[in-house]
């Protein structure tokens, strides 16, 4: 693993972490832990195999460990203002705030599968390997996640229309 390759994966690791965790500082902490663990487990890395998949599975395992621990919320102390990912176009039927909020309402296991498929454009087999679950589980989580997201967004749209009518 050379550092240039690792550096090249950073933006995508950060994007996935942000989408999964939501908050910027916490997401970057997860990326940092991932890098540290990757260096410390360098011996387990087989040259020529998929570096991205390896890093994503490290991140996944760290995240699972994190979620098992009782939550201890630490405010970022570096004075950075958390930035929200923003999108310029407003014309689409899906609004940014809605989607972000709806995504957070998915169970994390469904969110992870959906993000690996949608953002990382992984095949279902790759998702299964990355998350260490059977492909059947990948499919059922994907199906449930997508349906749930659709219903949440449809519900929000309905609620908005209702308010407008009244």
């Amino acid at each position: 693993m050379d550092s240039r390759a690792l550096l090249g994966e950073l933006p995508r690791l950060r994007r996935y972490a942000r989408a999964l965790v939501g908050e910027r500082a916490a997401a970057d902490d997860l990326v940092q832990d991932t890098l540290e663990r990757a260096w410390s487990r360098l011996a387990q890395w087989r040259p020529g195999s998929d570096l991205r998949a390896w890093l994503f599975s490290i991140m996944h395992n760290l995240r699972v460990d994190q979620l098992r621990r009782p939550a201890l919320l630490i405010q970022p102390g570096d004075g950075e203002v958390p930035e929200m990912a923003m999108r310029a176009t407003q014309s689409d039927s899906l609004e940014v705030g809605d989607l972000g909020a709806a995504l957070e309402r998915l169970p994390e296991e469904q969110r992870a599968v959906l993000l690996l498929v949608a953002l990382e454009e992984m095949s279902y087999e790759e998702v299964a390997v990355t998350l260490g679950i059977p492909i059947g589980t990948v499919m059922s989580r994907l199906a449930r996640g997508r349906e749930r997201l659709r219903l949440i967004l449809a519900g929000q749209a309905a609620a908005v229309q209702l308010r407008v009518v009244r």
Partner: protein
């Protein structure tokens, strides 16, 4: 109809462009006759596109330095910094703790040990951050911003000097428009620290945080930190660390910090 029935998995694979061309055509033909499923498929597609769009800006963000350094670092230096459950550093701390406890039991060395361990701990919670947190916690308190009010200034000074085992005195900032409100004792990294609170005519509060835990031995001169809304000037003078915190303009805070420094140096 296709001889191979279309499953839900096919629909998802269709959305994710993971089907071979032949199968894709079959799914397309099937969807044309199933408007309900077609609507779902469109919604899922839209989700994919919207998610990519929503998080695309993250790809273009500047990489935080800490991450860039960590990605660029050769394994050797990183090896020292990695964080297993019990790092070498933690083991050293535990060893030091045991040693200190022994020394303490042997008698008389506790003060020395406290100094050594506080210095190490201070790297965990930097002075400016401690001070900013203390400011944020106590300055908005209307009824009890301080433990001992300015009307008992003499007692306040006596009490804090005793608890910190060294003479401490709140600087006079009236000329700069800040009157003493009072002070309190707080837990620092390894022992007591003091906080003096001031406020101006508008009720804007400023706190001076004062710690005998010599936190940054190499520090010389003023340093500035920003913690959210709070600006902090901090410095080390002798064995004391000082931090002046307020949600006011950096320039004004610098002016007050200079005055505080000058008074304390006397």
């Amino acid at each position: 109809m296709s001889p191979n029935p279309i499953s839900e998995n096919d629909l998802h694979a269709y959305v994710d462009a993971l089907l071979p061309p032949l199968r894709r055509a079959e799914v397309e033909a099937w969807l044309a006759e199933h408007p309900n499923e077609m609507a779902h498929v469109s919604a899922w597609r839209e989700q994919n596109a919207a998610l990519r769009e929503l998080f695309r800006p993250v790809l273009d963000e500047d990489l935080p330095d800490r991450l860039r350094r960590l990605a660029e670092a050769a394994p050797q230096p990183v090896e020292r910094e990695k964080k297993p459950i019990l790092s070498r550093w933690a083991l050293q701390r535990i060893a030091a703790g045991l040693l200190l406890a022994t020394l303490g039991a042997l008698g008389g060395w506790f003060g020395h040990g406290q100094y050594a361990s506080s210095e190490r701990l201070a790297r965990l919670v930097p002075l400016a951050h401690q001070a900013a947190v203390a400011h944020v916690v106590y300055s908005p308190d209307l009824r009890r911003p301080v433990e001992v009010g300015v009307e008992q200034e003499e007692q306040l000074v006596k009490w804090l000097s005793k608890r910190l085992s060294t003479p401490v005195k709140p600087p006079k900032l009236g000329d700069l428009g800040y009157e003493l409100v009072g002070g309190r004792l707080l837990p620092g990294n390894s022992g007591p620290v003091a906080q003096f609170m001031y406020q101006d005519a508008l009720g804007r509060r400023m706190t001076l945080y004062l710690t005998p835990e010599n936190t940054e031995p190499h520090a010389a001169g003023f340093r500035f930190a920003r913690e959210g809304e709070i600006n902090v000037f901090y410095w080390v003078d002798g064995s004391f660390g000082y931090a002046l915190s307020a949600a006011i303009d950096k320039g004004e805070l610098a002016r007050v910090a200079t005055a505080v420094y000058a008074q304390l140096a006397r």
